[in-house]
């Protein structure tokens, strides 16, 4: 029998101009979703604008993680912001493709490309 327990996931939050850059570290899975949402909730209390989710430090993501990303996308865009998910490892990219989430969320190959996409989108809107 296995024991339960473990530590909560880390989410680094940085700012690039007016864009909040979120960098979760670890596995975006069911056991970590409460911790992930707690980090994000704190950010969203003070930030209502463009969001870049940098997934380069995520090793594994299940459908709970995908749900969390979809929620974040919905939250950001509902408030008029631009949401981009960047730097997906191959295994995560496949999850987005299989579920067609890649057609509902803007994806960028790198964090820098994601910031440029947000900037370009802002340019089109102004």
């Amino acid at each position: 029998m296995l024991e339960s327990g473990g530590r909560s996931m880390d989410v680094r939050i940085e700012k690039a101009d007016d864009v909040a850059v979120l960098i979760p570290v670890g596995n975006l899975v069911a056991s970590e979703i409460d911790s992930f949402n707690a980090h994000i909730g704190k950010l969203l209390d003070t930030h209502s604008g463009d969001l870049l989710l940098d997934m380069s430090r995520i090793s594994f993501m299940d459908s709970s993680g995908l749900d969390a990303v979809m929620s974040l996308n919905r939250f950001a865009t509902a408030g008029g912001g631009v949401f981009v998910c960047a730097a997906l490892p191959d295994n995560l990219l496949k999850v987005f493709r299989v579920t067609r989430a890649d057609q509902k969320i803007r994806l960028a190959a790198t964090g820098l490309e994601g910031l440029m996409m947000i900037k370009a989108q802002r340019g089109e809107q102004s």
């Binding site: 029998m1 899975v29 496949k94």
Partner: protein, 137 residues
């Protein structure tokens, strides 16, 4: 390669799913070698099956049975609770529905798409989800 087996029984808790996933990832590396995509596919499908059992079955325990040999990796996930046929449920999902879906319900679709064969059995008051992935050898 002779068939090898691993059986794990654990309390229905997401942290235990994490531990089972790590064990399965190690087996997948042995079984699929450099084919990391196929290894990731079966691991992902198994995690979705275990998560579903934790979230919906009401079962106190989950059993993970893994068997692997030269040509195939088999993962059976079993839990107590009322009968639920995931194969029939997944058969009703299509790309169009995935495009319209905003949140939730991706798990069954992922399993169906990521494994080579998906079967279900209800035996001795337990739901058994059977996932198969060929090694390609």
């Amino acid at each position: 390669m002779d068939e090898r087996r691993l059986t794990m029984e654990f309390e229905a808790d997401y942290r235990n799913v994490d531990r089972a996933r790590v064990a399965l990832q190690e087996i997948s590396v042995v079984c699929f070698g450099n084919d990391t995509e196929r290894a990731a596919d079966i691991t992902m499908a198994a995690v979705e099956a275990m998560n579903n059992a934790v979230e919906h079955s009401g079962s106190q325990t989950i059993t993970l049975e893994v068997a692997w040999e030269e040509t195939e990796l088999r993962v059976f996930v079993s839990s107590g609770g009322a009968p639920f046929d995931p194969v029939a449920a997944a058969a009703g999902l299509d790309e169009e529905e995935m495009l319209e879906r905003d949140e939730g319900g991706y798990g069954l679709y992922l399993i169906r798409e990521l494994v080579d064969r998906f079967e279900y059995e209800y035996r001795d008051a337990r739901n058994i989800w059977k996932l198969y992935k060929f090694t390609g050898r």
